[in-house]
Amino acid sequence: MWHLGKVILIYIFSGTVFVFGFSIIVAAGERVATPEIPKALATIEEGHAEIMRRNHMDLMIHKRNKTVHEGIRSEKYSLKACISCHAVLGDDKKPVSAASPKHFCRTCHDYVAVKVDCFQCHASKPPPSLVLDRGSSSFLSKQIQEYLR
């Protein structure tokens, strides 16, 4: 005679054992290397990377509300600026889009397996009119440096 409660408990218990055991086996095999985050195109002040690493989620929500609801589009609030400075050049010397795992956001987000849906709507490459040149003293570097000051 089956007892419904016992059956459910058995399923939950065996499911937990299975998942736990499986993950141990997998982890004992190879380790996934920590990602190499590409450097930005402009030199920046101290602390930007640390602040962003911890807070970019909340900062982005705050800034997007400022842009959408209040119309504030200056550099500090513009996703365009982030994407332009953090553009990664592909093999064809053109910036890669979020479809490529080399994209700046993806290098970290793929590793931590947190899916972002920003690029379902937003362009993931800088605007085509922007001239990108890593290392040169282009106006872009100066602009970015100025707004980050």
């Binding site: 959408v68 609801h69 209040e70 504030i72 365009k80 605007p127 872009l140």
Partner: protein, 252 residues
Amino acid sequence: MMNKNKEPHENTNTARRKFLAGIAGAAGLSIASGVTLFSFAEANDKTGPVSSKVRWGMLIDTLKCADGCNDCVSACFKENGIGSTGRPDTDPQWIRKIEVRNPKTERQISLPMMCQHCADPPCVDVCPTGASFKRADGIVLVDKHTCIGCRYCMMACPFQARSFVHEDLTDQKTDIPRGKGTVESCTLCVHRIDKGGTPACAEACSDTAGKAILFGDLNDPNSEITRRVEKFASTQIRADLGLDAGIRYRGI
């Protein structure tokens, strides 16, 4: 904010205008070498948020709107990166030309129809998450971050102005984010307005012979659009609903 009206009134002093244009050109040339990705006069954290001191609107003169001309539609599609998938039922259309015919008098006109940017928008009232909202300066927008795609605003809009994105989109324009599963409509080219420009449809129409679309600040007593609506009769479509649309029409 600059008002980019390009139609000269018959009594305008064109000599003064030419002088001003020359000065502006010289200034532009000298600054051009430093022209950056980010232009001037945009709303930013130093000038503060947009305010209700301004109310953006358009005056559309249907007498000047040519039957068969689609310049405003093409300009909008090009500006916002709207393409066609070959499925007209589900393709978005932020602006469209409507041909209106009076069956009793046979009089026919055509006019462009887009989001009317009402002062009291029903789409804003019905949105459960508040994604459909009215900005302080009168532009009705969809906050795609909060839109859950329930399409209730599409049911509520009396002008059928809203479209739903029925498929994955790629290669969106940088200034115009659009994505699958959210609702969108005419933004009055808010990305241009915030930098002091005019909507693409108004610009395209004023560049051609039509010159039917006039964009401006309805709260500014000196703007061209205010002077015109004070002088000439204009109506709003479905004025009976009391929504106080920002888009006014002349000749319907």
